[in-house]
Structures are given as C-alpha cells and as structure tokens.
Symmetry: C2
Subunit: 143 residues, 2 copies
DNA sequence: TATTTAATGAGATTGATTCTCAATATCAAT
DNA sequence: ATTGATATTGAGAATCAATCTCATTAAATA
C-alpha cells in the first residue's frame, strides 16, 4: 500500500524508483517511532546496503512530500522524523531523563484548537504539542 | 527587576557581571517576540557594541538558565528564543506564509494537559504547542 | 537495445554552534 | 585604590547537520 503511494507520487512527478530510494523507504519501517537521518544512514550501512548520506536526506524529503513520513522537530541530534501513514494523528510526551516518547491523543484538545483558530481567524493546517517532563520510571528512580 | 534576577543568579554561581553579558542582556529587550542569536549579534554590532558571537551564545545560555528567556524551538535560521520573565505562559500559531507568530492562551488546554499527564503517570514540567497554518491576512491574499 | 535525462556518491560547502586558549577584566580582600 | 586569583573574552579553529556540485551511472520509454 505505502509502496503504491510512493510509486504513484514518483511517477506523477516524473521521478524514478531507484535502488537508493527503495532502500531508504524500506528501512524506514524498522523504526517504531522517531528516527533521524544519521541513524537511518547507519542502519543501512550496517546491513551492507550502500546509500550515501545525500541520498538518505534527499529521499526523506520525498517521503515527506508524499505524506508517508513527517518532520517532528529539529533536535541537537538532527531532524526527527516519524512514520505517519496509517497512524492516527497524535501528540507527544517527552521524558527529559531517559528520552522516552509517549504518544497520546485527546479529542478535547483537538476540538479546543479548532475553536481557538476560528476565534483568531487562523486557518490551522496542522499542529504539534509536546509535553516535556518525566516518565513514570524516571520519577521512581529519583526517589 | 530582571537585572536583579540576573545579578543574583550570577553571584550565586560565582560568575561575573561583565560588559558583554550586560550588553546581550540589555539588547534582548529590543525584541517584542522571538529572536535568534545571529540577529541579536547583528543588532549589537549595528549599535557599535563589540561582543563576539561566542559571547552572545554563551550569554543566551545563561539567560535561559536563570529563567529570563526560553528556547522556543530550532529552525532553519537557528534557535529561536523569547523573553518569558513577566510574560504569562502562552502557545503559538505560526503563519506558514508570512511567518507571523500569534500568541494565544487557553485555560482549557492547560487543564486537559494536566489531566492527561495524571492519567499517563507523567510528570509534566512544561510544554509547547504550535499550530501551523495561515493568518487572516494571508488567507485573504490567496483569494 | 539505444537514448534521454534523472539520480547517485564523494567530497566540498554552508551555516549554526561550540571549543580552544592566550590575553584581559572582574571582584573580593587587603 | 591596588593586588591577586580566576572567570571571561574574542578570534579563529573545530564540529556537526544538511545541502550542493558535478562527473559518472542507471532508470524508463520508444
């Protein structure tokens, strides 16, 4: 399914489905959640697949364009991406101690945001909400 | 007031109030909203004040540490900061067309977040919510 | 298969940020 | 005000993610 989307996207733009693009695309599935380009590049390398960093970056841009993945945010370790196709929209809690990412979704927050946009005459396209703090485990560790 | 906070912070850490730090601190007030280190550096330069880029970066870190300013997010143009002392917490709408930043605050969203944290056993420290889309003006332009 | 042209990889480049270190400035004690 | 211990500075080097360059290679279609 995802493959078909990528294919159509490429064809429509007159682009080609190459070994490099295929490899990056596939390896993308090896992540549960967030990943950055460098990590993806290294995983490809480990597996013995030769794809240049440049191609990793270039392909990630394409995967964003066709809506399979999305930039989450920029960090000290580079831009974070995540797979979104087939995943419902969600927001994140980010543990400052162990780095864990907890996904959550709130109908109420979505609704209130829409109301706020209407109020302020803003046409909302998407949003990101990140709550930073400490996960259950790390709270215990401290005590 | 802010000056006193900075002073106390420095003294407590055995740091010194230098010309460079004073200058960066002061120039920080020339911004209404968001700013990045390079822009601050240039404004200082324009005014004829000689402070190195290194000192700008170093001082911004200190101002963050003592809670006068805060990192908003990383962008292509570098890290965005904003003054927070004396400003109530708020979130942002970000116009993808003209770049305008609209601040907003919602008691409801704050409350729901607290509830969510409790539910998920997460100790929330702070959060950022950004809604991306198009402001009133830019919506009109399109039509 | 041949032809056209998009895509690739290696390495250079850019841009933000941090680091290094010798020279300088601050501040507490005198 | 002077001194002395040491924090701070600035210039430029170093780092790191990301992008660009360009000669070579490889898709895709006729």
């Amino acid at each position: 399914m995802e493959k078909r989307i990528l294919n159509k996207f490429l064809k429509d733009k007159g682009l080609r489905l190459t070994k490099a693009r295929e490899a990056v695309f596939q390896r993308t599935f090896s992540y549960q959640g967030h990943f950055n380009p460098e990590s993806l590049y290294l995983r490809l390398k480990e597996t013995g697949i030769k794809v240049s960093r440049a191609s990793v970056y270039r392909t990630l841009s394409l995967l964003c364009e066709c809506g399979l993945i999305e930039k989450v945010r920029k960090t000290e370790e580079g831009t974070l991406y995540e797979y979104i196709f087939g995943h419902e929209h969600h927001d994140h809690m980010h543990c400052l101690s162990c780095g864990e990412i907890i996904e959550f979704y709130s109908e109420d927050i979505e609704r209130i945001q829409e109301e706020l946009c209407k109020e302020l005459h803003f046409k909302g396209i998407n949003h990101s909400l990140e709550i930073r703090g400490y996960c259950k485990k790390c709270q215990k560790k401290k005590n």
